[in-house]
Symmetry: C2
Subunit: 294 residues, 2 copies
């Protein structure tokens, strides 16, 4: 089985390492020549609870390859980069039957209808991972990858067969439910932790901050049409289970990188405005983060 | 002329120094024995654009004095401390005819009706000042102190006669207009700069942050019944004129002190709730700051 992975960030490197570990033939496609060279020289190092491992994937630069043969393509770039590489995916992976997108938020969904010659899957990654360098990924929290088909009826891949002990795949039948629940959680935890500069669990330290979570949560549920009580319980569970983690948005702000605010809170504000609904609290955190990104 | 000043913070020390400079007999009343001792030993140092000056005020601890003779009392404690010292003011300054309150916000106003045997004035202090130590105050920006009578018709003090070149007093006829305009400005600049950790002028750097200012400003104007366009122009002017300054709320957060959020945004939220109006943006920043104070 041949897998291609686009994206040299923490999720792309984590997938590359674990799919190599499970015996797949992996080509990793990154954007920068420095990262390509570094991985070709030093290999890709995985630090996990089971020890340290070094793998040697094929590495390419997307703009330099004409076409890549692969059975599966995993698109692990940031949500705001999906639009930019969509046409390259269409031409360079014409022969690749299955494509898995693992972005946060739901902003990238609008680019998917074009991919009608492929079996498209959507995934959410519940692992903790930290990119320590261009060649080293630390698996900080073992979770799972949930995968749902985007279009019903296309030839199914049994993703679960690629599960390993620390890196498992779980099928989900309803991509909308799966992504909207994740989006709900991200839309509350990510902006608040990034603005306040605190780890996830700290949000529960103060009743006023819990109130802010409730306000954002209620607005998210309203526009995503999900049950408010269930969503609130899920949110508290994630906050407690990841209490010492920094959210990806906080890490992006600390590292002066662009955040995924557009795909998360920006998406909700836009979705609501189509229904003439104003999400005042999401709009507020969205604008705060937009300014912090500069 | 004898003046008593309650409060050993930046405003209290600034008033003490300048009133001593203008030749008044000043007693300064502080809370901590360390500060009393330090000022008695070292004097009170004023650093201004005209040089450094050291003065020797009488210093007292409020709880240790039975009564103080003074023609004027200037209450320069934080807004949230006014309620705590109100009864001491009533007993210890029974003979003092005129009392000036110089707090931010309008939260302290509700304690004033009791003071019916005194001429009560409200002031807003537009100076920049930085307390460098218990005994040293730096006058960072020359502005003025605006003063309005709280109750019409009481025997007037001509405050302007105490003006000096760098420390002037200006009469204002309408305390509500004066305080509500200042409150409007504080209610926007203070929480945003404190949450975002930036100097006042940085709020104008990004269109999304200007939008946040507009949202807060509109809500403030609605509940304070002041003209939105005029208030917005005033806000921009203050933001530009104090662009390199840190707001008092940002300095309080940085120094892990309690902020004046209750007297500013908390007051507006409460005022609005009496009219069944929800100020969602003020409520949001209020709750953020409340949690940041812990």
């Amino acid at each position: 089985m041949k897998a291609s992975i686009i994206g040299g960030g923490s999720i792309g490197l984590l997938f590359a390492a674990y799919l190599l570990r499970s015996g797949m033939d992996v080509s990793l496609i990154v954007r920068r020549k420095e990262q390509k060279g570094a991985i070709q020289n030093d290999g890709l190092k995985l630090k996990s609870r089971n020890g340290q491992f070094t793998y040697k994937p094929d590495v390419h630069i997307l703009s330099e390859v004409e076409s890549i043969e692969a059975d599966i393509l995993i698109v692990a770039v940031k949500s705001y980069q999906v639009a930019d590489i969509k046409s390259e995916i269409l031409t360079k992976f014409e022969q690749t039957k299955s494509i898995l997108f693992v972005q946060n938020g739901m902003h990238h969904i609008k680019f998917l209808p074009d991919l009608k010659n492929h079996s498209v899957y959507l995934g959410i990654v519940e692992h903790g991972s930290l990119k320590e360098s261009d060649t080293c990924i630390r698996h900080t929290g073992v979770g799972q990858t949930k995968i749902a088909p985007y279009i019903d009826g296309h030839s199914g891949i049994n993703w679960e067969q690629y599960s390993t002990d620390s890196f498992s795949f779980v099928h989900h039948h309803d991509w909308y439910e799966m992504l909207s629940k994740k989006l709900h959680i991200n839309s509350v935890i990510n902006p608040l932790t990034a603005i306040l500069g605190v780890e996830n669990g700290r949000l529960l330290d103060h009743p006023d901050w819990i109130d802010l979570m409730k306000k954002l949560s209620a607005e998210s549920c309203r526009v995503l049409h999900i049950n408010e009580n269930d969503a609130w319980e899920d949110l508290l569970t994630v906050c407690k289970n990841t209490s010492l983690n920094k959210s990806s948005m906080l890490r992006d702000i600390e590292s002066r990188r662009k955040t995924e605010i557009e795909a998360i809170n920006g998406y909700l504000v836009e979705l609501a405005s189509q229904d003439q609904i104003e999400l005042s609290n999401h709009e507020f955190v969205y604008k705060m983060i937009k300014g912090m990104e500069m």
